[in-house]
Symmetry: C2
Subunit: 229 residues, 2 copies
């Protein structure tokens, strides 16, 4: 029974690593679709939504079954509970990538990302992908030091978010209201994606140390959208 | 031991009902602050953030303790696990109300909400408050029928969200880029607040029926921001 439990816990861990990979690839492709006006690539990312929903449902179901049938204690209990949190964070990351792709699709094949925000969006995409890759490695190897680097990269995301809003609010913004709204919302998607990656890392720390520092609480504290202007 | 467990489960239930009340009041006050340019009221809502964070941490800690010490099964297990999800949803609702209040505070005391969006924002606020009040009653009384009404009210929120974007994108929008960005983001805060309330109701249904229909999954499917334009 214990061997079966460990086997299923390991499978749950693989499941989350896969979800992190899906979120990471989706965000990379969505950003490329946005920057290159590639509606076919955008549509490919949007098509991942059902898969993301299924992975969330499976992850939750396996975690609930493990809790119900094995009544784990101590570090095993922490692993199962954290899995419930983490699949939700990773799912949300994937959905935020889908939001980016939907924006790219709606803007259409013949649109340009304005020069004033292009580099910022490029960098936000790179930081987001790197954060999700780091979260994936954390989920694999339980390397607590990676959790700290993840938080400092999230600070970089906040700085980029601030720069994005500075560009949108600049007196010489000449691309109209619609584009400004698009990039304000896109900024929020990237920033929330980063927050969710940090929440994953906080939950991994909880598994290792038993100290619940509150994945969502931190994300909320770092969620500075409304304060940045 | 069982009596103590039931007592602590009931206290956890009270805790969530209180969180729903805090989220509801915060959203009502934040909307009033926005519509009346009342920066003092806005600042009062923003001051709730620490309290919201503490309530999340307490709710999670009590749930984790119950899981670790009592190893509950069947419907008791569902109650504890759903509590972990629900405190996170309710916390997020409170934080979104804080975002609305931050926007009101930043816009300052001498600003007007443009007539084109004023009624829509008023209604979004009313629907949001009603949704969180209904969620609070669901958490109290386990009335599954209220869950269905909550979902149809969320549809109303999506309609309002669409109307808001129509107004912002209208050719005769004359209030500038900054105001358009403010109201686009505000629209997203109200819509996400509604999604989280629906997620709470889905989790309550899970407690009663044992059927996990995925609070976050539903929220994601209903989260139509990127599709509405």
């Amino acid at each position: 029974m214990r061997e079966d439990f460990q086997f299923r816990l390991d499978r749950l861990s693989d499941h989350r690593t896969l979800m992190a990979l899906v979120a990471s690839d989706a965000m990379r492709d969505a950003t490329t679709a946005l920057l290159t006006s590639d509606v076919v690539l955008a549509s490919k990312v949007i098509g991942q939504e059902t898969f993301l929903n299924d992975m969330l449902a499976q992850g939750e179901q396996v975690s609930l079954d493990l809790l119900a049938r094995e009544a784990p204690v101590a570090s095993d209990l922490r692993r199962v509970v954290s899995a419930l949190w983490i699949v939700s964070n990773l799912h949300r990351m994937g959905i935020l990538a889908v939001h980016v792709a939907r924006t790219a699709e709606r803007r259409g094949p013949d649109t340009e990302v304005p020069a004033e925000v292009r580099t910022i969006i490029e960098m936000m995409g790179q930081v987001a992908v790197h954060l999700s890759e780091t979260a994936g490695r954390l989920l694999n190897g339980s390397d607590v030091s990676a959790a700290a680097s993840l938080e400092s990269e999230d600070d970089l995301m906040d700085t980029l978010h601030r720069q994005l809003f500075d560009a949108l609010f600049a007196a010489d913004w000449s691309h109209g209201v619609a584009a400004a709204i698009d990039f304000a919302l896109l900024g929020r998607y990237y920033e929330r994606f980063a927050d969710q990656a940090v929440a994953v890392s906080r939950r991994v720390v909880f598994v290792i140390t038993g100290e619940n520092i509150g994945g969502d609480r931190t994300a909320a504290a770092l969620d500075a959208t409304s304060a940045i202007r």
